[in-house]
């Protein structure tokens, strides 16, 4: 039992192929024709980047794929990757009115992929030419979705933008950290090229604060955007955690994205600790790359898991195992992992998982993957900017609409500011911050794009303009009722 290659090239390619294959022209037509073309459509409201979804779908229906792609990308520069990784069932598709008529929402994500695939490699030529140069320079720290979203919007507004990315490639989690069967690095890197083609300079392999003093950036640039994301996975703090076959989920996924698929080594029996979406990505890919068994260990119950229901379904369909109400106690093994000792848990009065004394057991395994969520980069941020205000959870405090932080000239968005949400939220926050920076540098407010001639309720939040307001999400509705004092 050891961590080793367990598949061949052909099998790996098949197992890791698109989980949802691209639509053919006719499949896209049939699906697009189903769209009602709602006015003030809920799907637009549910999209953090406010893509005019009915408009792009109707363009697909009449075979104007280039126009469809332009509609998407002008709102969301990472439209191709979002088409693949967005939790559409709780965002746009979750808001589709057809759910209330015949329980079958429009497959918006797949249509978005169809439209963006149609222009893959030539997206930049689709977009409106950047505005006249403003002469302002903006530095973006972090080339992930937030940084790219911010940089693209800034470039289109006429600013000179430089992204500083510490890794060899930009794209962040899109390039390194999403299940391969959902998003390949190629799609992400294509998007990076589009951002570059807008005139954005991307300097990879440069870590601000290490290779380049923060003060230089503040001195040389008119504004700085922080899109640094999150840090390492939380540690378990249990014996055996430093054994060589214990690894972070994101490191495991990064290996998948930086090596030939069949060369990625996995254990024969893999245990993944945690039950979020990254845990699902890890357990399914371990299984697909040849592990005989791949099992999630989660200290709480099935209904408590943070993973989306459709992600859970993928893992079950892949034959992954689930051990609920079990907390890790010790990783067993002398020089390599032989098992994971767990203890059964029970919810206490507050619903927290409490270990039940004497209920220990051992799950034999030869590889342990930790998917416990990522830490905030508190120390790094405090070193970079001692005056930067962070909240109690370590998130960068910023104005939600403009991204402005407590430090003048410094703006923030994405996981570092929101604590860890979806790619699409990061893009939207980057975009909003770009507009905030633009307003701060040039005094101009930028809005939209929004659906033409739309009408909202006076006084309510703007709709479809990128203010994240997911609908058909239980929390959002609960929040609404709470505000109304109902229920």
């Amino acid at each position: 039992m050891t961590r080793q290659r367990r598949t061949d090239q052909e099998t790996a390619a098949r197992m890791m192929a698109d989980i949802e294959p691209a639509y053919t022209d006719q499949q896209a037509q049939v699906e697009a024709d189903r769209c009602l073309y709602c006015f003030d459509a809920p799907c637009i409201m549910a999209c953090p980047t406010g893509i005019d979804i009915p408009a792009f779908i109707k363009k697909i229906a009449v075979q104007n794929n280039r126009g469809a792609a332009r509609t998407i990308l002008s709102s969301n520069i990472l439209g191709a990757s979002c088409a693949r990784v967005c939790p559409t069932t709780v965002l746009c598709e979750g808001a589709c009115v057809l759910q209330d008529r015949d329980q079958k929402p429009i497959k918006i994500g797949r249509l978005q992929r169809y439209a963006t695939d149609a222009v893959a490699g030539k997206e930049a030529s689709l977009l409106e030419k950047p505005a006249a140069a403003t002469g302002k320079k903006v530095a973006v720290i972090g080339g992930g979705p937030a940084g790219l979203g911010c940089a693209a919007e800034m470039a289109r507004l006429g600013h000179a933008v430089t992204i500083f990315e510490r890794r060899p490639e930009a794209g962040g989690l899109n390039t390194y950290g999403i299940a391969y069967y959902k998003l390949t690095p190629e799609v992400s890197l294509d998007e990076v090229e589009v951002v570059k083609s807008l005139g954005v300079e991307i300097r990879c392999g440069v870590e601000v604060g290490v290779d380049l003093p923060m003060a230089d950036l503040q001195k040389d640039y008119d504004a700085v955007f922080l899109g640094v994301g999150l840090g390492h996975t939380y540690t378990l703090g249990i014996p055996g955690e430093d054994l060589p076959e214990v690894m972070e989920a994101l490191a495991f996924i990064e290996e998948i994205h930086t090596q030939p698929l069949h060369e990625v080594a996995v254990g024969e029996h893999v245990v993944v600790i945690g039950c979020g979406n990254t845990a699902i990505d890890a357990v399914t890919q371990a299984k697909r790359l040849g592990a005989t068994s791949a099992t999630i260990v989660y200290r709480r119950g099935e209904k408590d898991m943070p993973a989306y229901a459709y992600e859970y379904e993928i893992a079950k369909a892949d034959g992954c195992g689930f051990v609920f109400h079990a907390a890790p106690v010790e990783v067993l093994g002398e020089s390599s992992v032989t098992g994971l000792k767990v203890i059964r848990t029970e919810p206490d009065a507050e619903g927290r998982a409490r270990p039940v004394p004497g209920s220990e057991s051992v799950i034999p395994c030869d590889m342990v993957i930790k998917a416990l969520g990522q830490e905030k980069q508190v120390q790094m941020l405090q070193t970079l900017l001692p005056d930067l205000a962070l909240d109690a959870k370590g998130r960068v405090v910023r104005d939600e609409k403009t991204g402005q932080t407590s430090v003048p000239g410094v703006f923030a968005g994405g996981d570092a500011a929101n604590g860890g949400r979806e790619v699409v939220n990061a893009v939207a926050e980057g975009k909003k911050a770009a507009r905030g920076i633009h307003a701060a540098l040039c005094g101009d407010a930028v809005e939209g794009p929004v659906q033409h001639t739309r009408v909202g309720v006076p006084g309510s939040k703007p709709v479809g303009s990128g203010l994240d307001r997911p609908v058909r999400v239980p929390e959002a509705e609960a929040e609404y009722y709470a505000a109304k004092g109902e229920r």
Partner: protein, 436 residues
């Protein structure tokens, strides 16, 4: 079970469903298949001097992924010999004595019409249909719609035909004319036994945007074709009704145009058709569709307590009247069922941009959340006082019975435009103020 049998000017068939004169009625083989499937009659593909056809011949108007919403063709009449056609009619009639077999005819001179009438009778046809409608090819040679567009010529030719007629004569009319009642009256004057309508409508269905040539494509060119299929039904219903309601026509009608199911058929019958003819739907789905046409019509008649299809015939003719006879004091307005509304707001934008600005978008308010009612999302609300009852919102609403039109009591007695004019003239009432 209701009696579906009909008698159209002496032509009897066990049900009102006839295969129209067209590609599906080209051969005895097809007619056998049609009768096996249950069709009550077949109008043979038009017989005349054999022609030469082109390739290709058909084209489609597709809407939102739905095929053949409209359909056209540039195929001419039968390309088989007159002898073979009449021989096969005879075979069919002998094998299916209870069904109607009608010979569709097209020729030119008085002698030729007499000859064709004799051959049709000798073949045992139950009747003939004179093709005065075909709008492509044959009309360029002075036949088909070239006849149907000229009431005087209709009268002359039908007169020739009637000289030799020993079996019922149906005159098939072209819709490519301003007033369908004029050729219908001409047929009546000349002694025709019945009329059928509509033949196909002049059309170009689509232009191929790559080679910039319409379909059907024939070696770099195309031609106007005859249009049919579901899209022509409203036009056909209008013409059937016009003839059914005209006191100077008063001939039995065989209705044609976009009929594909029992509901379409029932509508044609209600507006005055005795039989109905079907082509495009057969070309799309085959003869089997008649099974539900028979079943559905029968169930409908039973549900409505009608013993026979003849009871339905013409039932809706009288209520379709001149505009000036409509009640100006009748009012209906739209009403939204918020338990059904899914929040697409199509009603709002349709009314706002396309009609009368009588729907507001407002906060969900006391209605709270629910289908179509999301945080921060406005909902449509009818402005009762602005609503003119045009129906548009209820038409665009994608949910059945979500927006219904509700009668409003105006408290005023019925008044037609004619009566209004009289009252204005007599000074009994002042003009109704113009809409602001």
């Amino acid at each position: 079970m209701a009696d579906l049998s009909i008698n159209l000017a002496g032509i009897r068939s066990p049900n009102p469903f006839w295969v129209a004169s067209a590609p599906p009625s080209n051969t005895a083989y097809q007619c056998h298949r049609a009768f096996e499937a249950g069709w009550g009659g077949v109008v043979w593909k038009t017989i005349g001097d054999p022609i030469v056809n082109v390739s290709s011949r058909y084209s489609s108007h597709n809407v939102g992924g739905m095929r053949m919403v409209g359909f056209n063709n540039i195929e001419l009449i039968s390309d088989r010999s007159i002898e073979v056609n009449f021989k096969e009619i005879k075979e069919c009639k002998e094998r299916w004595p209870d069904r109607a077999v009608i010979a569709s005819l097209m020729t030119d001179t008085r002698e030729n019409w007499h000859d064709m009438m004799k051959r049709a009778r000798d073949a045992g046809a139950d009747g003939v249909e004179l093709n005065f409608g075909c709008p492509h090819g044959m009309c360029e040679r002075g036949m088909g719609s070239a006849v149907g567009q000229n009431p005087d010529v209709i009268e002359t030719i039908v007169g020739w035909v009637m000289e030799a007629a020993e079996i019922p004569v149906i005159v098939k009319l072209t819709p490519n004319i301003t007033d369908i009642t004029q050729p219908a009256r001409a047929a009546k004057r000349a002694g025709a036994d019945a009329i059928s309508m509509i033949n196909t409508i002049n059309s170009v269905t689509q232009v191929d945007l790559d080679r910039l040539v319409p379909e059907p494509y024939v070696d770099g060119k195309s031609a106007h074709g005859g249009y049919c299929g579901p899209a022509v039904k409203p036009i056909a219903l209008n013409m059937v009704h016009s003839c059914a309601a005209d006191p100077d026509v008063q001939l039995p009608i065989s209705g044609i145009g976009g009929i594909g199911n029992w509901r379409d058929a029932a509508e044609f019958i209600a507006l005055g058709s005795t039989s109905v003819q079907v082509c495009t739907a057969i070309m799309h789905y085959g003869f089997r569709i008649v099974e539900d046409m028979i079943d559905g019509l029968s169930n409908y008649l039973d549900d409505k307590g009608m013993d026979s299809v003849n009871e339905l015939c013409g039932k809706a003719v009288k209520v379709v009247d001149r505009w000036e006879t409509l009640n100006l004091n009748y009012k209906r307005i739209a009403s939204i069922d918020y338990d059904k509304c899914i929040g697409c707001n199509l009603c709002y934008v349709a009314c706002e941009d396309g009609a009368h600005q009588a729907i507001a978008l407002t906060e969900a308010g006391e209605r709270g959340l629910g289908p179509g009612r999301l945080p921060g999302k406005p909902i449509p609300e009818i402005k009762d006082e602005e609503c003119v009852g045009c129906n548009l919102c209820s038409i665009v609403c994608p949910v059945d019975q979500c927006i219904t039109m509700v009668d409003v009591d105006t408290g005023k007695p019925p008044m037609t435009w004619k009566e209004y004019q009289e009252k204005l003239a007599s000074g009994e009432m002042k003009p109704i103020p113009a809409h602001p």
